[in-house]
Amino acid sequence: MHWGGALFTLCLSASLAASYTNNVPSAISGERYNEDLFIRPLLDGRVATTFTFTTDLLEDVLRDSESSGQHYTLFPLTLGQILEEYSIAELHLTLNSGKWDYDHWGYPDDPSVGTGAELWAWMADGPSSTIDERWTGLRNALAGLFCASLGSLDMRRTSSPSTVFPISSSPSTPHALRYANLPSENVCTENLTPFVKLLPCKSRAGLATLLNPQRIFDADWHGLNIHLRSTEKGTELKLGVQAVFDPVRLSGGRRRDWSFRLLFDRVIHNSCSVAGSSVVRVQVPDGESHALSPTFVADDSAAAVYNLITQVPLDVSMSWPYEHTFQYPRVHQSRLVPLSVQRTLHGSSQIHGLLFIALTNNGQNDIVVGYFENLPALVTLWMHTMEIKVDGVKRDDLISNVTYHPHHVLANGQKSPSTFQATLTIPAASTLHLSMEVSRAFLKYTEHPPDAMRGWDLPPAILFPVCDPTMGICNMRNTSTDVRGRMYTPSLLIDLPTPDFSMPYNVIIFTCTLITLIFGSIFNLLTRSWVIVRVED
């Protein structure tokens, strides 16, 4: 009986698995490719879509050029070459545009939603070339591959916050982290085109058909991400596209019904034949009178699942037939995350200001969270002015593990960013105010960008789950009221005081003239002799 039951379960799971997979062998010479689209209708009528294209390389190490000629079937060769060249153990590159609204959209399916470009990599520590040289090579190679200004992520923006971005595997050899962010970098079609080229079916078949640049870059929030990490099985490469569409806007402000045709202006005609699995999952909002078509095959944990391999062509659509006009929900009732963050710069002066962070705990339990700032040398934090207040009362006990590294001058005269990291405890149902005075740098006229009056973007601050060393785990992860992953604040725009850009010659002339005038007068007085002369009538 016991054995029969086990056999039955095995057969059932095998048949279920077979229904998901194609007839193609699931692993082509140790490589496996899966794709997944997760669609989540949001409370404010928007639709969050997350494309995930996963390629697994079921080997311990990346193939080097000698043994196999670096031949890959599904894994993108261009990326493989870069990873092998610079000994990358883990790589995360994201290019995002827009501000992720945690309060109304909840946690993103991929946590890296910081505005602009963000790159971090764990590199093996050891080979002859130093970490920084390989970091330079890596970002230049990625800049070339993705047509993005990643070369600007230089040492002026690079830091090494290893507790904020921990390595996912536990390697035997020592590894070093390099992290940089560039909030002013915009994601665009020119980044999507090389991105799609890394997929085995390009955009001709499968889920990638839906990646219509005209629609993706029209979305309220959109971003590309590349995550590469080592797992026990081998190397896992996740290419992702996240976008938040607003069907209410697309329908002229009335209805929140959406379909592939409406969101992407395309439908899926055929599936990618090398994909091990190709799934569209739609989160079904509970307790609402919605209609989903076509009918879905499987239903797991409140998500409707469509298998692309058996169900092409596919145009999923969701409608609320009994809703004539969409009503936006009230703001205060719908905080989807336990922690709300605001980060602002106060002060009207161009030289001095106040960096002000308000963290609101929406839950009924205390939240312990890490806070991280990586600020370029455009601004200086004045740590002695740091104040933590809850309801106007100073609470210095709520901050711990403060580490601050001021800028330091690099060999080429540039300044590295300053990093500030601390652990904050936010009491239940209250708001914690963290404030620090900042002053802005006076730059040489050659250091200003051509559009100096636009100002500079300050990178987002990052809130990250704190791991308790005594418990050995990120203890708060398990509770429902906790910060699940990294959270990014919006980036800030600061205007630095500018010199006059047309003045170099004038200033040199005026100043030198004045100095010469005084110098000449003094030496004239000191060197000439005194005489008494008779004044002629």
Partner: protein, 406 residues
């Protein structure tokens, strides 16, 4: 002002100003006219925070003060009273300089000399803004006081301290050594060659070098290394890493400078400061105190990271040399230029960085006016100091004879 009680009362008033919670505007502490990155108390407090939290304060270009300030402020909790006391010490030193120049125990002019220091707005405002230039000025005046009173060891120690606190004070080394070898009394009217033994001067110089090394060692032990603090604190005066505006010439010149000319002009500007030392000391070899006074004027106009406290010291020292007043050619013009500059500087600074209505050129123009005012003061003092030797033309002969330079 002539009452013997006047100065103590004034000093008490200054102390009271520090004691009572006189509402100092927040912006005063970071005002660019009153404090520079080298003298800002705000940065010193940040350096203390870093020091107490185990971060090397001399890494990020934040702290540019001497490590001695760091150790002083980390051990003794000094409030605004320290600045008041330093002001009083400075005024007291200026009065003592005046007395030893006149060879008097006490004079009716003491009150005036003290007032010239304590109530000089160029000195009082930086002091209220907790600028450490107050301590630097007091150290310079103590140096001159001890030198004038003929106490070589104390004078050389004070000189080592003031050059340590502010590298540009090195300009004063030669006149102070000469002053130690000669008398502080006014010799302007009777110029003569420097008759003292050069060995004596050389001995003083070697003593100064010893004190200087001791201070450098103390500072290095304090900062836990030699190069970091030297590069940040003394190097800042030479390579100008921080382009924060100030009333001086340097900041805008090097903001607008082409990158490949920067090292050259940094060299020119530093050399330009030193170039005055020998001519002034040779011309005024008969009156070393006056040479020191003129060099303070040079510093007050051309120093990197100038604040109002630097020209303030020069202007206050005019009170010690009343004999030159009849020979000043354009005292009114100089005074008006200073009035003009001190009104324009805060106004144009606010217009540029706070209001956002003007641009950097406004403030640069005001700093040029400040430069002209400083230059006019030096030129006039230089002229009067030499003109006095020729003597005045008698009343009856006016119009018939003229004293000129050919």
């Amino acid at each position: 002002m002539e009452s013997p009680l006047f100065l103590p009362v004034l000093a008490t008033c200054r102390l009271l100003l520090a004691w009572v919670h006189f509402p100092v505007p927040d912006g005063l502490l970071i005002d660019h006219q009153l404090t520079s990155p080298l003298t800002s108390y705000f940065r010193l407090k940040e350096g203390l925070w870093l020091y107490h939290h185990g971060v090397d304060p001399y890494v990020g270009g934040i702290l540019k003060h001497s490590p001695l300030f760091l150790s002083l402020f980390s051990t003794v909790p000094l409030g605004r009273v320290a600045w008041a006391l330093s002001d009083i010490v400075g005024a007291w030193a200026l009065v003592r300089i005046w007395r030893s120049r006149q060879q008097l125990g006490q004079s009716r002019r003491d009150g005036l000399v003290g007032t010239a220091y304590l109530l000089n707005p160029y000195l009082l405002l930086p002091s209220l803004a907790s600028s450490t230039s107050t301590f630097e000025n007091a150290a310079v005046l103590l140096t001159l006081m001890f030198a004038a009173e003929g106490r070589p060891s104390l004078a050389l120690l004070a000189l080592a301290l003031s050059t340590h606190l502010s590298l540009t004070t090195l300009l004063l080394v030669v006149p102070v050594l000469m002053l130690l070898a000669t008398s502080p009394t006014s010799q302007l009217a009777s110029p003569r060659l420097f008759g003292e033994s050069y060995w004596k001067v050389l001995r003083y110089a070697s003593e100064f070098v010893v004190y200087w090394f001791v201070l450098v060692c103390a500072a290095s032990i304090m900062a836990g290394g030699v190069w970091n603090w030297m590069r940040e604190s003394w190097g800042a005066s030479l390579i100008l890493p921080d382009l924060t505006p100030n009333p001086g010439f340097w900041w805008y010149f090097f903001t607008e400078m082409f990158d490949h000319f920067r090292p050259f002009f940094l060299m020119v500007f530093s050399t330009h400061l030193v170039i005055y030392v020998m001519p002034v000391c040779i011309k005024f070899q008969h009156d070393a105190l006056y040479a020191a006074f003129l060099l303070l004027g040079i510093l007050g106009a051309f120093k990197p990271y100038l604040t109002l406290a630097d020209p303030g010291l020069f202007l206050s020292m005019f009170a010690v040399f009343p004999e030159i007043y009849p020979y000043l050619r354009h005292a009114i013009v100089t005074a008006l230029l200073h009035a003009h500059a001190s009104l324009l500087l805060p106004l144009f600074h606010a217009l540029w960085v706070i209001e956002g209505r003007g641009n950097a050129n406004f403030y640069y123009a005001a700093s040029l006016v400040m430069g002209i005012a400083g230059g006019a003061g030096i030129v006039d003092a230089c002229f009067a100091g030499m003109r006095i030797a020729v003597g005045s033309v008698p009343e009856a002969e006016r119009g018939k004879w003229e004293v000129i330079q050919e």
